[in-house]
Amino acid sequence: MKFVAEYRNPDRVRELAVEIARQATRRWVIMEICGGQTHAIMRHGLDQLLPENIELVHGPGCPVCVTPIELVDKAIRIASTQNVIFTSYGDMLRVPGSKEDLFSVRASGGDVRVVYSPLDAIAIARQNPAKEVVFFAIGFETTAPANAMALLQAWELGLNNFSMLVSQVRVPPAIHSILSHPENRVQGFLAAGHVCTVMGYWEYHPLAQKFKVPIVVTGFEPVDILNGILHCVSMLEKGQYQVANAYARTVSERGNVAAQEVIRRVFQESDRNWRGIGVIKNSGWSIKPEFAAYNAEARFEVGDIQSHDSEICIAGEILLGNKKPHQCAAFGVLCTPQNPLGATMVSSEGACAAYYQYRARTTGDPHG
């Protein structure tokens, strides 16, 4: 497949792996931020190609995983309300709330629909003027422009039966939070290529300077990921801490300015609660007051819902890079994709699901 095959070229992959091993003289801990990268690393077994002194830890860049449990509970309450069509990306339907998930709501007769784009939710709202249509707008900077566009379209169309339950989060505050953690082990970052396609990487320079860590904008194919690791190792070995772009075929310094403009028009920065991690200051976006009519949280009076995560689940530790999935006592035993205790076991981008799918249950070793 053109535009993919060249980035999975086995010879190129081997060359990069050899070069990483040649350059890495010390032990380095590198975090890939994005769950899509974690999934690719597991699917292609890329960590098996790295020397032992390079440790990859898996970051919080899984939108489904970090959506807080009380928001899932709010989604469940709204979806259970009479006369509501609740629309969501498919992944969110399996995420456990305190008691049940959105699939259970559907099984109990709720009208819960999987959509592939927020614009599908707008179309459903236009087709069903007598129903309240709610879209579960979750995600990082990647989903924000499309979600913002959907809201603007609803506003331009004068739709009064459409609203969004929003949990938009941002990567740079999460990196700040990880690096500020007293037990932080991460020495270098692979920034998420898709996020940077939208936002650029101008926001990352102050982080690299403040915490003295190299940050490399990295793609998602085997050659991209190893290339990102090589850049990162190279800077670590030289004691450099800049932001490098190893995904230049789609990412520029300023990013997609038009998309950022749309985000700014609809959303404002706000504190966000990250599932398993806690509240991170200014780490997300909320709907601006002038668009409050489209805010499902206000429209459905779900502000009273407060929820707590499973006490067994260590997803927070995993999302911060402090623990690996197989180091959790519940992993593969009490917690499986069929019966997940935390969202990291649900999403295809979640680290626990990636380990469960591609690795042995106990050691993390594919042969073990």
Binding site: R8, H44, P63, G90, G139
Partner: protein, 358 residues
């Protein structure tokens, strides 16, 4: 009298409408409307001396055709695909091939089929007719006789147009021992062709993807291919059609049943470029996408090459490939050697195949 009566010549008697173009509740009453529907539509395509006898059950008289010491093999399968028509097939073809293939995977020669229809009120009879014609054609292709049937009608909104259950009976000749628990260390794993076509064809026919794929479903009966294989090859240990859950799930089932390890090579697994592209866009792994006309054969190593040649000579499997082999350890595991020389576990599909968010 304020208003004059109409001309009596224009008066009409409220007789039931004889000709309808849609299924109505009365079609499921068991009364005259049901009988008319069965005679005029179902028998037109599926009628034969057994099914058209009008009795409560089918009597199979040609048992003499079943060889001595053969054993009977029975399977049932319900079909609820939406939409009813998709590129390369429809629910009728699927309902026949699904059960035919389940029997064939046990080394059986499928002979007789029953079909139960659950029709939703409002289904257009023209659609039903096209599906019945498709079942007739698929049954002819497979060489199987439809010997009993049933029709029920549910209210509008209680069904998805049409559901079909088929049950099949066939026989396996003496000495045929094909079973999911039969994979032996050293056996070769042969796949009969490209994976993922059916799943992508159905998804694109749903119109939910925002793009159209030019992929045709592979839905087809595999019993002739299986008969040929079994007649010319001794060492067929396991056969399975990788339907829902795809190749990965079928291999994992076999590894579990046989308490063995199945090691496959990513580069050997054939995937059509259009399927590979659709999967890339949606975040699917083609190993988990459904097939309806492919089989996995696990074969004694001495017979592997011969089995491969037989498959490639048959129109149902021109692109067959040896994709891996069976090992003893680690038991109950499927391992995949990737194109870049690493190894990973292949597990069953958990839940529904869901497109990724970003």
């Amino acid at each position: 009298m304020d208003e004059p009566l109409n001309n009596p010549a224009d008066w009409s008697c409220p007789l039931p409408i004889k000709q309808r173009d849609k299924v109505v509740i009365g079609h499921g009453s068991g009364g005259k409307m049901t009988h008319d529907l069965i005679r005029e539509l179902f028998w037109k395509y599926l009628g034969n001396e057994t099914i058209s006898s009008g009795n409560d059950a089918a009597v199979i008289k040609d048992l003499a055709a079943v060889p001595a010491n053969a054993c009977l093999v029975i399977s049932t399968d319900s079909h609820v695909v939406s939409p009813l028509f998709f590129p390369g097939g429809d629910i009728g073809r699927l309902a026949v091939c699904g059960t035919v293939n389940d029997l064939a995977m046990m080394g059986a020669q499928p002979r007789w089929l029953t079909a139960g229809f659950i029709l939703e009120e409002g289904l257009e009879l023209e659609i039903l007719e096209r599906i019945l014609a498709s079942m007739q054609k698929a049954a002819q292709e497979a060489g199987i006789k439809i010997i009993a049937g049933d029709t029920k009608v549910v209210q509008k909104g209680k069904g998805d147009g049409l559901y079909i259950n088929t049950a099949g009976v066939g026989y396996a000749l003496e000495g045929v021992d094909v079973s999911g628990d039969n994979a032996q260390p050293g056996d070769l794993v042969i796949l009969s062709g490209e994976v993922g076509n059916h799943g992508i064809a159905v998804l694109s026919a749903r119109g939910e993807l925002g793009f159209e794929a030019t992929v045709q479903s592979d839905v087809a009966p595999l019993n002739h291919l299986v008969s040929l294989l079994l007649s010319q090859c001794q060492g067929i240990h396991v056969m399975r059609d990788p339907t829902r859950g795809g190749l990965a799930t079928a291999l994992k089932e076999i590894a579990n049943q046989s308490n063995a390890c199945i090691m496959i090579e990513e580069t050997k697994i054939p995937v059509m470029p259009a399927v590979a592209s659709a999967c890339e866009l949606l975040g699917f792994d083609p190993l988990y996408v459904a097939n309806e006309g492919k089989l996995i054969a696990i074969v004694h190593p001495e017979d592997g090459q011969k089995a491969l040649e037989i498959m490639r000579s048959h129109p149902a499997a021109p692109n067959a490939q040896i994709i891996g082999e069976v090992k003893s350890e680690p038991a109950r595991t499927v391992l995949l050697n990737t194109a870049i020389g690493t190894t990973r576990i292949v597990d069953m599909l958990s839940g529904e195949l869901i497109p990724r968010i970003c």
